[in-house]
Symmetry: C2
Subunit: 427 residues, 2 copies
């Protein structure tokens, strides 16, 4: 029997005992023994009392020391979220020689390196399959199945909340505000939705994917991210007319100078497998030299899907404990981190611009782009109102340096306003 402690007993955590019970015999076969929840840390006496009254007969504790000093507890599962006290508790557990399973993407994206080093030092495992794309086993797949392959690019729809909102904006023509209000009503978005809608949550996940796909530890601060709040119904309509769907996409790829890690609203060709990932579903699309193209699709959040990933980590650790084996690192792939130079990161872009509705204005606009050596794939000028006209441009590939320069050019030009610009993925 292998004893486990849970830190926190929120939504995901309470899915863990459900799975351990529901699939008891399958899990016992896989582990070669039983996984038992020995102690559960809750916030205070009142939470403890509430849970006991609700009929839970676990050994609830309010002092984390009761877990850390318990020699019988082999694995600690952290499902509290946020940075502190989770970071302190995980560090204590690792230092006490306990394996740790976590779903805490914020913490792992920002402090993962330090925690992994601590795990390594104490020869224990620190596993976190549930931290990226909830129910999709993408981290273990990258670590165990794509070991023999060389990943060149990872593209992911990594945030269910924003994907739900964008799906409504595309399918139902809702505005961003309508979509957000509904997401909040349904409990998909928090009252402060910043992390979800501004690409921060997806950026955490992109940083973690960088470790598994490319063996590189990326400083979270270097992940470029932008969100969906600036997307207008006009952009959505235009995307559809041009044959695209807008999704918030995490994009981790190798360039000549190093790794580029970015989260941004992206125009995906309708035929791209990621384009049909709708609602709260997530997916990671992998480009690699061996397999070519593959995709892993599933729910990005939710009690049971996330708990499945947590218990998969528990089973792998449990099996190693049963067999008395060396605990393998969750991700054995590491190489020196090099970040891409902006001139090596190239994309096509969509620009929505407003220009004065008079002869010669479009020519001036075209000059701005030509000056930066940016060529056009598609141009669409819709009829103006006599005052201004709306111009939409999809460019050929251009670099981040060119993007910066042309934006500066536009900002300082007379009678041209940049309404919006988004990344466009080629077919």
């Amino acid at each position: 029997m292998i004893k486990i402690a849970l830190l926190g007993f929120g939504t995901v955590a309470s899915g863990v005992p459900f799975l351990l019970e529901e699939n008891a015999s399958k899990i016992e076969q896989a582990v070669g023994g039983r996984l038992e929840i020995a102690k559960i840390l809750v916030k205070d006496e009142s939470e403890k009392q509430r849970l006991v009254e609700a009929g839970h007969d676990y050994h609830f504790v309010t002092d984390v020391a009761e877990i850390m000093t318990d020699q019988d507890i082999a694995i600690v599962v952290e499902l509290m979220g946020r940075i502190e006290p989770a970071k302190t508790f995980i560090s204590q557990a690792l230092a006490a020689g306990k394996h740790v399973v976590s779903a805490n993407k914020d913490l792992i994206a920002v402090h993962g390196k330090e925690l992994l080093a601590l795990a390594d030092q104490h020869q224990v495992g620190f596993y976190y399959e549930a931290a990226v794309a909830g129910g999709i086993p993408i981290l273990r797949t990258l670590a165990n199945s794509l070991t023999a392959d060389k990943v060149t690019r990872l593209l992911g729809v990594l945030n269910g909340t924003s994907n739900f909102m964008l799906t409504k904006m595309v399918d139902e023509g809702w505005s961003y505000e309508q979509a957000l209000a509904t997401a909040q009503e349904l409990g998909y978005a928090e009252s402060d939705p910043t992390n979800d809608v501004e690409g921060i949550d997806a950026a955490y996940k992109a940083a973690i994917l960088s470790q598994f796909g490319f063996g590189m530890t990326v400083d979270f601060e270097t992940v470029r991210h932008s969100g969906i709040s600036t997307i207008t119904p006009a952009d959505v309509t235009m995307a559809q007319q041009l044959g695209y769907v807008i999704k918030l996409v995490g994009d981790v790829r190798e360039t000549a100078s190093g790794l580029s890690v970015e989260v941004a609203p992206t125009f995906l060709p309708k035929s791209h497998p990621l384009a049909s990932v709708n609602g709260v579903m997530n997916a990671v699309f992998v480009e690699s030299i061996g397999i070519g193209q593959s995709m892993f699709y599933g729910p990005g959040a939710g009690q049971k899907p996330t708990a499945v990933s947590v218990v998969a980590d528990l089973v792998q650790l449990g099996r190693a404990i049963t067999d008395g084996q060396v605990i393998s690192a969750f991700n054995g792939f590491a190489q020196e981190t090099h970040l891409a130079q902006p001139e090596d990161v190239t994309n096509s872009y969509y620009f929505a611009l407003s220009i004065k509705d008079e002869a010669g204005q479009f020519f001036k606009l075209a000059q701005l782009f030509a000056k930066e050596n940016i060529s056009f794939q598609q141009v669409l000028q819709t009829e103006g109102d006599g005052e201004t006209a709306r111009v939409v441009i999809v460019t050929h590939e251009m670099s981040l340096v060119q993007l910066d320069r042309v934006r500066t050019q536009i900002a300082t030009a007379d009678q041209v306003t940049l309404l919006n610009h988004f990344k466009v993925l080629g077919v």
Copy 2:
């Protein structure tokens, strides 16, 4: 250093050294040592000479005993295909205490149980990720990541050749014959395409998926399978009109009495994630109580994708050898095999019928179905030619028993001909 022998040096096998070289440092990190191809079995001296002349400097042997008696060889990779001599060679290798990696779906579907027992007896590993869906790591994912989950249904587009043909039949309106001719020209279909087009290849894979998803070893003879050769352009058009796409789908699911394993052309709702799996791509769609719905998508065949799966097996075995660990079974999940009773296997069905074009005939047809308690979801009668009319029916859920009975009824009825019938997946 861990020494490997390859049995056979065809397309997939020659992808293995490519990957070992291309990703040498990543693989060495994962294994904790180097994987070296020590010997390669080829058919005869003339093949050996041809390969040497082509510039390959491996140690080619023509006598398998040179591999079996070589104590330094730890892992044997069988990529010869077909049943014999592959079965004998794998048995010899396992009995000699060597781990075996194979991509031989026919062999594993039919004789897997016996070979796994032999591996178990000699405490060696027998791994075969590449046997199902080439580059998609579906077996390892089911074994290692869905351990904590209970799979209720696996649906798969498992044969690239037939999927390529069906994609052309749907997108381009080609006939079966045109699609087959092109598949043969492109080298996707063999001169005798039976295994691919009649669902036999997909049935092998469905049998193997049954082990991993449900822990049940299914006798290959009990896998119901039908193919795509009877699909007419009229069926394809009708499917589109009704909102479906036809795919050859492997369907493994739990029913009240046990497991149902079937491969059949299936009408998939256009919104189903499997409906957009086109060309030679494969995908496995998983329904489970924990994750809910997930899908794993990628190339089903090809040199490099298949070799990635082979090398992933090599890396896992290599790591265990380096660490001196107990070799885990490729799939640790086993339970007693129960097969579904036909009355518990229910589907909706599409029936295309020809009836005499006169008053009262449709009523008679409806009576045949009503008699077997089969109700209709959709009915479409197209204008007749004065002689006969074409009727298309999509039924509500009905069992295999009802299907058999109504087919008998139709066969013996006057002036009604069953043109075709296919399974229909609900939304």
